[in-house]
């Protein structure tokens, strides 16, 4: 597998300044700069919460360390440095360091963050050769195309599933109606409030296309125009959210980590959770943790949004660092590494189609694979606007679940012209 090197964009430079700069660089060992100690590779990782890296990664630190050690055994003399940045801070942190030439060589992030990095010129494109493309699931490739190049490379998939306490629930609900029925009998349910993590609930009401349309946006000043069927589906979904908020045993939280902690402490019995939390939950709950697919409609499986982790390449790497970055990404995508990551950190699914997911031997893997197969990926051309639209939708949903906004005015607000 190989990646074509994307050249560093050079602004037009003139005169004596350029000469002086070039002379200085040449005097210091040419474009390779000064070789100081071992080769160093800097990787920035976007975490999914604002609690720092410890809460989310837990023992995953050791796993990433072992991954780095294996890479170093193949590339002796390479030091890999990981920096963690909370979701929402990675772009600003990268811009801050990029302006100093201290940006990362590689960035692991969600797709929307990779898009933001790309659009703000904080990451550089990479060429994928046919061998590289063969190592990636075809459905993940098109989203990152930028002409003949790609602005990001898929790394791992983290689908959304249901996590529950086996002591309180033997058989997980198959539909959202069954979920509410169980909650009426005393099952304490925890649901996230963010649109991405609540999207699976649209399946049962058939509101997925309508919500997707709201997220994809419309020209400023225009009201959303939904088909009559989509409008009715949206009404049903908002009404379902409103009813859920009225349930005594259903609670919503805008912090997924809080839901996970509540499940751990026994304050919740069933939550909707991203697979990235499974490893930590299993360590703390042991065999009491149950994982299943999310409930859908009466005869339709839920369509969740899968969290896809991708690699982006930094802009100011030296030639040697860029080469190492490409080697590292290639290493992370090979069959053995992808399989090891899947086995060592339950909840991470490979993007390499040649890795077999053991769905028959593991109920957990079966649930994850099922969720991934039925998941949806959003393709945002304008990630910043998508974040704003998502925030607006979430703020309406918050008011609905808190009983401040009945369904009718909530729908009116969702369909109102954007500023």
């Amino acid at each position: 597998m190989g990646f074509g090197l994307a050249p560093l964009p050079l602004a037009p430079v003139k005169g004596l300044g350029l000469l002086a700069a070039l002379a200085l660089l040449l005097a210091c060992g040419g474009c390779g700069g000064i070789a100081v100690g071992p080769d160093n590779l800097y990787i920035s990782v976007e975490t999914s919460t604002n609690y720092g890296s410890t809460s989310e990664l837990g023992d995953n630190r050791n796993i990433s360390r072992s991954l780095i050690e294996k890479f170093r055994s193949l590339n002796p003399g390479v030091a890999v440095h990981i920096r963690h940045f909370p979701a929402g801070e990675l772009v600003a942190a990268t811009r801050f360091r990029d302006g100093r030439g201290l940006g990362p060589d590689l960035i692991v992030s969600r797709v929307v963050t990779a898009l933001q990095l790309h659009q703000q010129g904080l990451s550089s494109d990479v060429s994928l050769d046919p061998d590289a493309r063969n190592r990636l699931e075809p459905r993940f490739q098109n989203s990152f195309r930028n002409g003949s190049k790609a602005f990001a490379v898929p790394f791992l998939a983290q689908p959304q599933v249901a996590c529950f306490d086996r002591r309180r629930l033997r058989e997980p609900p198959r539909s959202v109606d069954a979920l509410l029925a169980l909650s009426a009998k005393g099952l304490r349910v925890g649901l996230p409030i963010s649109v991405g993590e609540l999207f699976w609930t649209t399946t049962a009401q058939g509101a997925g296309p309508a919500v997707a349309q709201l997220l994809n946006g419309r020209p400023a000043g225009e009201a959303a125009t939904l088909s009559a069927a989509d409008h009715r589906a949206l009404e049903r979904w908002i009404a379902w959210i409103y009813d859920s908020g009225l349930q005594q045993n259903v609670s919503f939280s805008d912090d997924p980590f809080e839901l996970v902690q509540q499940l751990e402490r026994g304050e919740r019995d069933w939550i909707s959770c991203s697979s990235l939390w499974i490893d930590g939950l299993r360590q703390r709950m042991g065999s009491h943790l149950g994982v299943s697919v999310l409930p859908g409609g009466a005869d339709t499986p839920a369509t969740p949004v899968t969290r896809l982790l991708v690699w982006s390449f930094g802009r100011h790497s030296s030639a040697r660092q860029r080469l190492l970055a490409e080697r590292f990404v290639a290493f992370s995508l090979n069959e053995v590494t992808q399989k090891q990551l899947m086995v060592a950190v339950p909840g991470n699914l490979p993007v390499n189609p040649n890795v077999l997911i053991p769905t028959r031997s593991s109920a957990l893997m079966a649930a994850l694979a099922f969720s991934l197969d039925h998941s949806r990926m959003f393709e945002f051309r304008d990630p910043d606007a998508a974040i704003v639209r998502g925030g607006r939708l979430e703020s309406v949903l918050k008011k609905v679940v808190q009983g401040e906004l009945p369904p009718e005015p909530a729908i009116a607000q969702l369909l109102a012209p954007t500023p």
């Binding site: 050079l10 602004a11 037009p12 430079v13 300044g17 350029l18 700069a21 200085l24 660089l25 210091c28 474009c31 390779g32 700069g33 000064i34 070789a35 100081v36 100690g37 071992p38 080769d39 160093n40 800097y42 920035s44 720092g52 890296s53 410890t54 030091a79 440095h81 990981i82 920096r83 963690h84 940045f85 942190a93 801050f96 360091r97 990029d98 302006g99 100093r100 030439g101 201290l102 100011h316 790497s317 030296s318 040697r320 660092q321």
Partner: protein, 422 residues
């Protein structure tokens, strides 16, 4: 610890990037040029010219960042270096301005103990934040301490918080002490003692908070404290005893900063009461005496500032027998009242104390406000007495001895008369 070293060494790897190297080398070049060429030439000039030179370097460094950006390279690191240097120059200018209004010693202490250490920490922190994620560096476990890993941030807190607790607490507490003194009309000694006790409490509370923040195992600390108490009992009991004595003396109020004590026949002012010893100033020879707190705790202490700061002084004088004691006593009391530094109330009193061989001896007793000014006021009173006696024709007799040789001729030959002695 290995992981931290791994990270720090890894930061050097950024120098392999031409864009970083360009910023660092140009900045280093300008800084070296300033340090080796310009600064020595400005050293002999006036201080303001030196400051102008430093401001010039800031301008050049800022320009360097702009030029690098104009060339199409990232230049924020060069700008950052300019900002750091600019902040340093700004602090120097502020210091110059403060020196025109405040005592130089206080400004020196403020800068050396607080401003400069804070500046270094700020620069170090901001630099680390650019080279890595400050949160990640803070979370690096270094080594186990009482069963839990000590992280970089906790080690940093353990090293810096106690220092800043001691250095910082003085300023607000001194202000608070002055405020309370104005409100409740404390004496200076009470204010100083209260400030010191509050400072100890603040430092102790800060240390307790720090231990909680760092997450030290309290059971382990209790066990170690138990072990240490044996060590304290045998090894450093004197230090501990002095510390407790100092606290006790502060609460008791017998020895406080500002008190005047009688040490080896000399009045001395207590300058400070430290953890181990008190520092006293002796007026006679401007010496500072460092006396362990325990000394005051176990020995008798004579103080002039216990219930008040008045001191009763006295001058002994003799007048010839032919003068009426009533006149002499009246004159002495009048002289004392007229001397600067002698209190009018309680009124000066003179006494006839004895009939000596060649004079009637009087004692003039008077009160003064400043216990340390006794000698100078005594001298002033004595001089005034001499002038008053001269003006009133009162003789201060000196002893005379008349030796009569024996009249018996069979006796031994008398020796030569010995010189008269008192």
């Amino acid at each position: 610890m290995n992981q931290l070293l791994y990270e720090i060494v890894g930061w050097l790897g950024f120098l392999s990037r031409p864009v970083v190297l360009l910023q660092c080398l140009t900045t280093a070049g300008f800084a070296l040029g300033y340090a080796l060429w310009l600064r020595p030439r400005l050293k002999a000039r006036r201080y303001r010219v030196s400051v102008l030179g430093a401001v010039g370097l800031w301008g050049v460094l800022r320009l360097n960042g702009l030029v690098i950006e104009q060339l199409g390279y990232p230049g924020d690191l060069a700008t950052y270096f300019a900002q750091v240097w600019g902040a340093w120059v700004l602090l120097a200018v502020i210091r110059l301005l403060l020196l025109t209004r405040c005592p130089a010693k206080q400004i020196q202490l403020l800068y050396s103990r607080i401003v400069q250490p804070l500046f270094v920490l700020f620069v170090a922190g901001s630099l680390v934040n650019q080279l890595a994620s400050l949160r990640d560096v803070a979370e690096i476990p270094l080594f186990p301490l009482f069963g839990s890993p000590l992280t970089t941030s906790n080690l940093f807190l353990l090293l810096t918080i106690p220092y800043f607790l001691v250095a910082f607490s003085a300023i607000p507490l001194v202000w608070l002490g002055h405020l309370l003194q104005r409100l409740f009309h404390f004496s200076h000694g009470t204010r100083a003692a209260g400030t010191l006790v509050l400072r100890y409490l603040l430092v102790a509370a800060g240390v307790l908070w720090l231990m909680h923040r760092v997450g030290l195992n309290t059971s382990a600390i209790a066990a170690i404290a138990g072990g240490l108490s044996v060590g304290i009992g045998f090894g450093i009991k004197e230090v501990f005893s002095n510390f407790i004595s100092g606290l006790w003396l502060l609460f008791e109020g017998s020895v406080r900063p500002g008190s005047v004590l009688f040490i080896d026949g000399d009045p001395c002012e207590v300058r400070s009461l430290g953890l181990r010893a008190a520092v006293l100033w002796r007026n006679r020879d401007n010496a500072e005496l460092v006396i362990p707190n325990q000394t005051f705790f176990t020995a008798t202490t004579t103080t002039y500032t216990g219930s008040d700061s008045l001191r009763r002084s006295a001058v002994e004088i003799g007048a010839a027998y032919r003068h009426d004691p009533v006149v002499v006593i009246a004159l002495l009391e009048e002289v004392a009242r007229a001397t600067v530094g002698v209190r009018v109330e309680p009124a000066p009193r003179a006494f006839l104390v004895r009939y000596s061989e060649s004079s009637i001896d009087y004692s003039l007793r008077f009160w003064i406000d400043d216990p340390l000014g006794n000698l100078s006021i005594q001298s002033a009173v004595s001089q005034a007495i001499w002038h008053a006696f001269t003006a009133n024709g009162i003789e201060i007799p000196f002893p005379q001895r008349v030796i009569h040789p024996p009249t018996d001729s069979t006796g031994p030959t008398p020796a030569a008369p010995a010189p008269q002695q008192d």
